[in-house]
């Protein structure tokens, strides 16, 4: 039976620190089971909410209300309040959708793919990365819903349900594949996250003094008692979920890329789109995990669990995926030239020199040039610098989607139908509002649930090691 524990025990212990060439342990030495539990659980179970939490939450909640306003006004007026028109019929809604979905992918990568690859360092970051996935997918899901302007009238072509018109969604279209991919992704991400939470919530249940908290955690933990027979099935379920999530996460962004690639628009109709989108998704997701992990470990003093080694590893993943994305940009330019198709080559030229050229070059700067700094160990271990780089990559990946969507649409085959796209204040309000929603959800999560997987960190400790023969 493949074991979570074996791989974790394969990690160098405290004793190995002196040996050269051995990475430091993923958890700072000197902790025992109780201390790990208390340190992580006390963040949640304390009765004193830190002022920084209240301030941060209020700011995020305020920004979220911008979203409420923007969506409320949208429902009153319709999509005419946005900058979209012919020829650019896809604007911020699809850009933000792709951006948010991509961010979610790092959470699944950390929790599922790194588990399968036996990367035990994932353990202290997987919980909040999964939460990040869940909330990012919620933000992403907002856009396909609201971009119809009247979502309550649009259900019949999004979801297959028996309706009075006896119509069904068109299953030959990538747009309906998207509905299935994203809703499955949301469900499976939730299952994964919740399954991981059960033993930890049981710890909180037994530790909580407040009867309301005890009741709430009691319900959530389903009566988990840590039985070896339960753990046996639990580990299987967890491993199977990881195995199922891995192809799922690849399929989700592949399907998203098909929304573009199945069309005939120059710059979209290319076979490179699926891998290029998946790499971009992981790239932006890791940038977001860093953007979140750095302030969180600072604010909650979690540096012993989210160590510099974690940041270093995440920076390496970012560099690697960033290079794949850079390769994607080069291939696109190569296609433009090598295809000898004048629409393709014009599209690339227009992208580099046309009215949206500044966004293209900004994206090259953010996504290709900046991350090259991550080659240097000095940069990877400089936390503030890493934080800045992660922010730049987040912006860069948003610009990438902007460039893909807008530059391809605004000048297609017929010069007579060319036009420009300018986002309106409502486009920006909706986008910024979803950032507020995302951060609000994260703040709530950090306050009521353990942000680091307690039981998995326990299993990482050297004392968890069981001798082969007793």
């Amino acid at each position: 039976m493949p074991s979570l524990l074996d791989q974790q025990n394969a990690e160098p212990g405290v004793d190995d620190l002196s040996k050269p060439g051995v990475s430091p342990p993923v958890i700072a030495p000197g902790y025992d089971f109780a201390q790990v539990t208390d340190k992580i659980a006390n963040v949640v179970l304390t009765t004193r909410t830190p002022w920084s939490w209240i301030a941060g939450f209020l700011i995020a909640f305020g920004i979220m209300n911008i979203l409420m306003l923007a969506v409320g006004y949208l429902f009153v007026k319709g999509t005419g309040i946005w900058g979209i028109n012919i020829p650019v019929g896809w604007g911020f809604a699809i850009i933000n959708f792709v951006w948010w979905i991509g961010i979610g992918h790092a959470g699944t990568l950390i929790s599922a793919i790194l588990l399968l690859f036996k990367q035990s360092w994932r353990t202290s970051i997987n919980r909040f990365a999964e939460a990040m996935t869940l909330f990012a997918v919620c933000c992403a899901g907002m856009f396909p819903l609201i971009h119809t302007g009247r979502p309550w009238l649009a259900a019949y072509w999004l979801l297959p349900y028996p309706n009075t018109m006896t119509l069904w969604p068109q299953f030959r279209s990538p747009l309906i594949w998207d509905v299935f991919a994203v809703s499955t992704y949301l469900t499976v991400s939730f299952l994964f996250w919740y399954t991981g939470l059960i033993p930890d919530v049981a710890s909180l249940r037994d530790k909580a003094k407040n009867p309301i908290a005890k009741f709430f955690y009691g319900i959530m933990s389903m009566g988990w008692r840590g039985s070896a027979r339960h753990w046996h099935r639990y580990e299987y379920a967890y491993l199977l979920l990881a195995g199922l999530s891995t192809p799922l996460v690849l399929s989700v962004h592949t399907v998203v890329s098909w929304d573009f690639a199945v069309s005939v628009i120059p710059g979209w109709h290319t076979t490179i789109f699926p891998p290029y989108f998946v790499a971009g998704a992981i790239y932006s997701g890791f940038a977001m995990v860093l953007t979140l992990a750095i302030p969180i470990r600072e604010a909650y003093n979690m540096k012993d669990f989210i160590t510099d080694r974690h940041l270093n590893n995440m920076a390496k993943v970012m560099l690697a995926t960033g290079l794949i994305v850079g390769y994607g940009y080069m291939t696109e330019a190569f296609f433009g030239w090598y295809s000898a198709n004048k629409y393709e080559s014009f599209m690339i030229l227009n992208r580099m020199t046309g009215p949206y050229a500044p966004t293209y070059w900004a994206l090259i700067f953010c996504n290709i040039i900046t991350p090259q700094a991550l080659w240097f160990k000095k940069v990877r271990s400089n936390v503030p610098l890493l934080f800045v780089i992660s922010l730049i990559v987040n912006v860069g990946m948003w610009l990438e989607r902007f460039v893909i969507v807008i530059t391809s649409l605004h000048r297609d085959f017929l010069p007579s139908s060319w036009g420009l796209y300018h986002p309106t204040i409502w486009d920006w309000a909706t986008y910024i509002g979803t950032l507020g929603l995302f951060i609000t959800l994260l703040f709530l999560f950090i306050r009521v649930l353990p942000m680091i997987s307690i039981f998995e960190v326990r299993a990482l400790l050297p004392q968890a090691k069981v001798k082969a023969e007793a």
Binding site: F171, R172, A181, K207, H232
Partner: protein, 179 residues
Amino acid sequence: MKPTGIYGLMAEFDTADELVDAGRKAYSEGYRKLDAYSPFPIEALDEAIGIPHTILPWLVFFGGLLGGAAGYSLEYWTQVIHLPFIIGGKPLHSWPNFIPVWFETTVLGASLTAVIGMLGLNGLPLPYHPVFNIDEFLNHAQKDKFFLVIESKDPRFNLDSSKKFLSSLSPANVWEVPN
């Protein structure tokens, strides 16, 4: 038939090693209605107290097949039978276009089966269990201590001799667990 009014006997250990060792000894002593409790999964316990291999992977396999079949049937029935509608000159049964949704529903069926199956086989949710009657268990089982329980249902269970046996394993404590 319960020979006594108790659920079983519980022994507490300080380390995972001691628990695995005690579990192995209890199993070789002939006890079968055994359970071990630990704050994190311990692989060695599976073999030590003779936990049979779970059928969960098979359930997940069939859950996936069922999900995929449901997804594909939905596509086939809506696109070919109920609303035959030709789009872009493609055949009604354009199976390559049906693959993505079939794939997603397969993953969905398998994942739901994995979680619901795991909980179901574990008998969860279960609001009450006798082991929670022991305060030490309540305070430490989900945190830092390790427990071995011999249920009174075990044919070899005898309050006195079983207690003597558990005490011989040098536990930190031994309790009778009321039902």
